[in-house]
Amino acid sequence: MSTVKLTVNGKAVAVDVEDRTLLVQLLRDHLNLTGTHVGCDTSQCGACVVHMDGRAVKSCTMLAGQADGASITTIEGIAKGAELHPMQAAFRDNHGLQCGYCTPGMIMSAIDIVQRHGGQLDEATVRHELEGNICRCTGYHNIVKAVLDAAGRMKVSQAAE
């Protein structure tokens, strides 16, 4: 057992876990943050994507201990109170989700994609960048639309800040 100290959605936490505990298990089982999902166990599907120190990571493929000292943001931590993150709003407005299972990972990956590309995105780039996130429901059509829409919204909201 080890104590892992980290910041999750802005809150400092210390959790005693078995050394083999995965980050996703810490989030789901110990902190009850069940918005982060497990879809494949082999780092392919991306349902488990969270942000560690601002970068998208697959939380099923790293040990909780590797996140010691890090700042983790999950799907539960991106809205500002009642105000949705522009990516969340874009997924809803563009019908970018159906069953909702891949959605948290998709949104967390998509935010990372927009941030890395500075809002300069086209369809081909979004499709290439989403390779690590699998959706079985939407056929990606509306996810791609949502990401491009959000890229515009995030640019606007950045400019406003």
């Binding site: 078995e18 083999r20 789901r28 009850n32 943050l33 069940t34 918005g35 982060t36 999902h37 497990v38 879809g39 494949c40 166990d41 082999t42 392919q44 599907c45 349902a47 999950t74 799907i75 539960e76 809205a79 949705l84 969340q88 997924f91 809803r92 407005d93 019908h95 989700l97 159906q98 069953c99 909702g100 299972y101 891949c102 959605t103 948290p104 949104i107 369809e123 081909a124 979004v126 499709r127 290439h128 989403l130 390779e131 996130n133 699998i134 959706c135 079985r136 429901c137 939407t138 056929g139 990606y140 059509h141 509306n142 996810i143 791609v144």
Partner: protein, 780 residues
């Protein structure tokens, strides 16, 4: 249409919880004292279980119990059933091999459970499962359908000699033979419909909780049809009588058919919960999903189509071998028979059809309904035949289809189905216009000049969904009725709850079903909530599959609404001292037509519950229910056209354009309908280009993770150009046909027809991987 009524592109009510991480799936639920199950599964495709030594596992930390197949048999938990009886051509019933929830004696596919470890955590259960020592005596195994029916092949079940489940026929053999005897041309085709893994993103899960004081079970499960699960668990598996078993399907993360069936894991979780006296949770991992979720498709078919001198189809002969895997899953028997062969007429006037379907056991994961269920196999076969025929007869593929379209309705096909309505020319025209079919030759020539092989492929699909009249399916062997139930509860303050037996696993029922209420009453959808997925709340239901939730489920809601409205009008008329016939409902008010007299819905509702001033003899309350049984299947149809380029150097396919023109009848929410089509198209494209659940000759699965099984990724597929043509379905009052499966049914033929057009060679099996396409291009 109001802003939230029928036809409006209303943003989904359920999305808020999914985009904020507040969805509630089975694995998100924790119960006090909950234990975790991990199954010990066979590594062999076929073996005798000689012994199970649990002693080491039982001594490991946190282990609560190790339970085996023999114990579940001893406790008289029933064997798994198949709910649709099929009769072979010789009159004999289908041959059912016994399928216990965990195997006591013989395992017949890799992944079949032989024991289960229950422990304090998931990790501890997994650790201990590795310490359970199972002695196996390996037996010869067979995975290929043709190998399985050869004499001398390994035999799976003593009940099924020759590994044959059934040999079933449909249609008029004599008339079909006569048509072929007179044919001017005969087109022949051999087709394999590749085995697929459904791969809903949420793995299956079950959480069972036994209350010893009440002798009552609660099961949280990943189900498309919780009431059917309760019925089967109760009536056939001896878990508990229905009133002592509550089944809850909370948010369900996709299904595509695979979550219709009641699997061994749910049975074991319930049984184990009673045995150990604590809640038991099982959540599958992705490899378990590949090994144990029912697979789809897996047909091998030879077909011949006869044409007269005018290129009119005169006959069709089909012989299909359907691989069922090691056991007959819940609805498996119906898939290659009544859901497949009854659609072999496609969109075409075919006077004589004869089909024979031979169901075969192999040492592989059981096969059952997967998005489309039989209809993709039929549509793929017919549309590949039409394309092959066009090439052989040297006519334009679209023109050959048009020359054979059914144009008068109703149309009785020779294979049971009576198409009620359609306009196949309209959808073909719309798709051809959208893709500029006329300009294709020029684009192909230009691509050729650039060194690219460009092709175009047409697919005109039809399907039967909205299943179905209970009487009709009952006469064909179904073990269940296929109606739907609904209840409308108007609360005393005028808010409305709709209880439905349909159950969304991504389809957006919480939005579309509210739109019907908004349309009829003129109230905002925020005032309406949908209650589903819980057998304690909803009286009964048949669930969501076969594109039936709008055509059947929503119609049941409409029927209940009509009853409620009729009573509410009486109350309003009484309050307004008007004639009931003069009351109209607008914007949430009951108005006396032609006057300014009105009473708001909440006042009507309150009057119904206070019961101070109701018409004489009227019962208090405002709640009505209905059961709706359709009068026919519905027949969504459409045309998909795909234009693509193949790189002759690598065999890689790149999409140029993909258009879909669908006729789904009336659309409740076009945004949601389009989403259903997008998802279906990508599953069809996935089958055509990428996906294949592969076994080696010994029954070892080669594709048991996302590293081996090629799921469609965002950069494998294009964006789509969708349109709709409309003929309203006469079979239900809303005119709805259903849209959930069309994409998966029609897309794969369009892709393969386009690739074979591009490379100029007709023989190409799915999935058309770059390797396979390259070899086909360069084959001598």
């Amino acid at each position: 249409m109001g802003v939230e009524g029928i036809g409006a592109r209303v943003v989904r009510k359920e999305d808020k919880r999914f985009i904020t991480g507040k969805g509630r799936y089975v694995d998100d639920i924790k119960l006090l004292g909950m234990t975790h199950a991990h199954f010990v599964r066979s590594p062999h495709a076929h073996a005798k279980v000689k012994g199970i030594d649990s002693s080491a596992a039982l001594n490991m930390p946190g282990v609560v119990a190790v339970l085996t197949g023999q114990q579940i048999v001893d406790d008289k938990v029933g064997n798994l059933i198949c709910g649709w009886a099929i009769t072979s051509k010789d009159g004999s019933p289908m041959k059912m091999g016994a399928w216990p929830a965990m195997a006591p004696e013989t395992v017949r596919f890799v992944g079949q459970a032989v024991a289960v470890v229950i422990a304090e955590s998931k990790n501890l259960a997994r650790d201990a499962a590795e310490a359970v020592v199972v002695s196996y005596e390996e037996l010869p195994a067979v995975a290929d359908v043709h190998a399985a029916i050869k004499s001398g092949a390994p035999q799976l079940h003593p009940e099924a000699p020759g590994n044959q489940v059934y040999d079933w026929v449909i249609g008029d053999e004599g008339a079909t033979d006569a048509a072929f005897a007179k044919a001017a041309n005969v087109v022949k085709l051999d087709v394999t419909n590749n085995r697929l893994a459904p791969n809903a993103m949420e793995p299956r899960a079950a959480l069972a909780d036994y209350d010893a004081a009440e002798e009552h079970f609660t099961l949280y499960t990943t189900s498309q049809n919780p009431h059917v699960a309760r019925l089967v668990l109760s009536a056939f598996y001896n878990i508990a009588p229905e009133h002592k078993l509550r089944v809850i399907a909370p948010d369900v993360g996709g299904g595509f058919g695979s979550k219709i069936f009641i699997y061994p894991e749910e049975m074991v979780a319930l049984w184990a919960s009673k045995k150990i006296g604590r809640p038991v949770k099982w959540t599958g991992d992705r490899t378990e999903a590949f090994l144990t979720d029912a697979h789809g498709r897996d047909h091998v078919t030879h077909a011949e189509m006869a044409f007269d001198a005018n290129n009119k189809i005169t006959g069709l002969k089909v012989k299909t071998y359907a691989n069922f895997g090691a056991y007959m899953s819940l609805f498996s028997s119906s898939v290659p028979t009544y859901l497949y062969a009854t659609l072999l007429s496609g969109q075409y006037n075919i006077p004589a059809i004869h089909a024979e379907v031979i169901g075969v056991y192999t040492n592989t994961t059981p096969v059952d309904a997967y998005r489309g269920a039989g209809r993709p196999e039929a549509s793929y076969l017919i549309e590949r035949l039409m394309e092959t025929a066009a090439r052989q007869l040297n006519v334009d593929p679209a023109a050959l289809r048009r020359n054979n379209f059914i144009t008068e309705f109703p149309h009785q096909t020779p294979v049971i189905m009576a198409y009620d309505v359609g306009d196949f020319n309209a959808s073909l025209d719309a798709a051809m216009k959208a893709i500029d079919y006329a300009g294709f030759a020029g684009r192909k020539a230009k691509a050729k000049a650039d060194g690219k092989l460009r092709g175009i492929g047409v697919s005109c699909y039809i399907e039967a969904c909205g299943i179905a009249p209970s009487k009709a399916v009952g006469s064909l062997g179904a073990g269940v009725g296929l109606w739907e139930s609904a209840e409308v509860r108007v609360n005393p303050v005028g808010t409305i709850e709709i209880l439905t037996g349909s159950h969304s696993h991504g389809q957006g029922h919480e939005t579309t079903f509210c739109q019907l209420v908004a349309e009829r009453l003129g109230v905002p959808i925020s005032q309406v909530s949908i209650v589903h997925g819980d057998t304690d709340k909803v009286q009964f239901g048949m669930g969501t599959y076969g594109s039936r939730s709008a055509a059947v489920g929503l119609t049941a809601i409409l029927k209940a609404m009509e009853k409620m409205e009729s009573k509410a009008k009486k109350i309003a008329a009484h309050a307004l001292e008007a004639s009931e016939a003069d009351i109209v409902i607008e914007n949430g008010e009951f108005k006396v037509t032609g006057t300014d007299k009105a009473i708001a819905l909440p006042m009507v509702a309150l009057a119904a519950y206070t019961a101070h001033n109701l018409p004489d003899g009227m019962e208090p309350g405002l709640k009505e229910s209905a059961f709706y049984d359709p009068t026919n299947f519905t027949f969504p149809a459409g045309t998909y056209i795909c234009e693509l380029e193949v790189d002759a150097g690598t065999g890689k396919t790149s999409f140029v354009n993909f258009v879909a023109a669908d006729d789904f009848g009336r659309l409740i929410n076009p945004m949601i309908v389009e989403g259903q089509v997008h998802g279906g198209l990508v599953q069809g494209i996935g089958q055509a280009l990428l996906e294949h659940a592969i076994y080696d000759d010994n029954g070892q699965p080669i594709t048991a993770s996302f590293m081996d099984y090629a799921m469609p990724r965002a950069d494998d597929v294009p964006s789509f150009n969708l349109s709709h043509t409309t003929t309203l379905c006469p079979g239900n009052p809303l005119g709805i046909k259903g849209c959930g499966e069309a994409g998966a049914i029609g897309a794969s033929a369009a892709v393969i027809n386009a690739i074979t057009d591009a490379i100029g060679k007709n023989n190409l099996e799915m999935p058309a991987t770059p390797d396979r396409v390259w070899r086909t291009i360069h084959a001598a």
